[in-house]
């Protein structure tokens, strides 16, 4: 009862603070503080509810329990992370995005292929490609190669569509200017069209980060060596060790955010000229 009461009080106090903070003139510190307080409040309420209602840890472990499990099983989690995120997702991501990028540049010279591939690519991007996972596991075995293969086909089409669209992003004026400079095709590509395509390419890269992790994790549900995030999640769920599952989910969340954040930082460095990246003055 005390815990429930504490949760309620904590929630009300934090909400008041947030209301007060968000009524202040906007600044960077406030726009960071408000969501942080909100997130911490959620975790606090979660902890209080679990303790207050004495929820069975098999159903929902408290955040503190998850944190302890996380801290004590870091070696296992690290091995899983390397197996799934680095070997499976990252290698597949690089191969898939690289292949899609090269394909896009190659078909860029043939408007016929573009008009055919763009609708098909858009169509395929909406399909449940994740279903290819069992087939890839059959073809490439249980280890990370099959996970990388799933990731490759998952990221290929979103990346292709975005790059092709990006390469069309220049307008007539700009292309005419390049012509008046007597620029040839490679020069136009390198100095005008690729830089102009960068915002689109990074959009594709960012979408692909999440897809890559999802692909690698779900592919492990269909068979994997005895390490990996997807393997750990499915086996620990079977053993009803939910604190370990949650610890693995924390790892997945961290890996996803870091991956996305890394690409976003790279984007900032490459497309500093784009209106969405310029600082407000």
């Amino acid at each position: 009862m005390v815990w429930l009461f504490a949760g309620l009080i904590g929630w009300l106090v934090a909400w008041r603070v947030n209301v007060w903070l968000s009524s202040l003139p906007p600044s960077r510190a406030i726009s960071l503080a408000v969501p942080t307080i909100f997130g911490l409040t959620l975790i606090f309420i979660w902890e209080c509810l679990v303790r207050g209602f004495e929820i069975n840890p098999v159903l929902l472990p408290a955040p503190s329990v998850i944190a302890v499990t996380f801290a004590t099983s870091i070696p296992t989690l690290w091995a899983d992370f390397v197996q799934t995120a680095i070997k499976g997702a990252l290698s597949g991501y690089i191969i898939g995005c690289g292949a899609a990028f090269l394909t896009a540049v190659a078909i860029d010279r043939f408007p016929f292929l573009q008009r055919g591939l763009l609708p098909v690519g858009n169509f395929v991007a909406a399909l449940p490609i994740i279903g290819m996972a069992p087939i890839m596991v059959m073809w490439f075995g249980f280890d990370w190669q099959s996970k990388a293969a799933v990731v490759v086909i998952m990221v290929f089409f979103p990346m292709l569509v975005n790059t092709v669209e990006g390469l069309q992003a220049t307008n007539h004026m700009q292309r005419d200017l390049m012509r008046t400079y007597a620029a040839n095709y490679p020069q136009t590509l390198m100095k005008l069209r690729l830089p102009a395509a960068m915002p689109f390419i990074f959009n594709g890269l960012k979408i692909s980060t999440t897809l890559a992790l999802i692909g690698a994790i779900v592919a492990e549900f269909f068979g994997s060596p005895i390490k990996g995030m997807g393997f750990r999640i499915s086996t620990e769920v079977g053993r009803l060790a939910l604190d370990m599952v949650w610890a693995e989910i924390v790892v997945a969340a961290l890996a996803g955010s870091l991956f996305y954040g890394g690409v976003a930082l790279l984007e900032k460095a490459v497309t500093f000229w784009h209106p969405s990246q310029r600082k407000d003055r």
């Binding site: 968000s22 159903l59 929902l60 008009r115 449940p128 549900f221």
Partner: protein, 290 residues
Amino acid sequence: MKNLFPILTVVAAIFALWYAGSVALNAPWAHDKAQRAGIELTTKELIADTMAQKKPKLPPPHQVGAEIWKTTGAMVAKGRAFSKRSLIYHSWITLSATLLGFALGTGFGILLSVGIVYNRTMDMSVMPWVIASQTIPILAIAPMIIVVLNAIGISGLLPKAIISMYLSFFPIVVGMVKGLRSPDHMMVDQMKTWSASKGQEFWKLRLPSSMPFLFPSLKIAMAASLVGAIVGELPTGAVAGLGARLLGGSYYGQTIQIWSALITAAVLAATLVGIIGMIQKVVLKRMGMA
């Protein structure tokens, strides 16, 4: 329609690649068989064999097509459209979870986006988490949701629908927040000069002008929802649904079954997204936006 010819070319190329791939991938097994039987295969026999294996590595399109027909059309003809061996039955299981999850996700997504647009505190505290949550592989928690809900006695349609809801919810929030904020100052001021109430401003200005943003989000949400339902069927251990067909097929090496489930899922996704596209066309036309 001017794109029809290029699209058909690309589709034909995909089929050609598919056939070539199935010959290449199935050939080792055909050679193996021939060697054990002690016969030499001519190229023609080899290709014929790769087209008609029982458990091919990559089944050629016509085998998949035949399997789909056998488990849908032929079942209907026999009057057993909803028997457990029919893909219609499995598709329906998946489809119902998808649609329920999609409806829930859309409902909650729109409600949350209204809250975010009208409440500054909510905007500042919830919106960053909505965006951050897109970077997290949410699908990873699917098995847990299924098992936990099973443990407290909820099974069947709802757990899968909850996963679908979770996946379809975020595109809707992001799209609708953008859409509800799309009227510019001029339009909002115009509503003010007419002394419109908050409710009137919402119903007559913000909601209508969010429609062009809503439909693309709906399409993404529908595709995500189907993926959620399929993945949600995996941990329950291959009982029913397209995901179960995938898992069952992978357990027993029934590649043709996997591919037919996969193609059915693709057709389902395309149909659902296509229906939304059609509604979009009609609605936007009636509203004078397209």
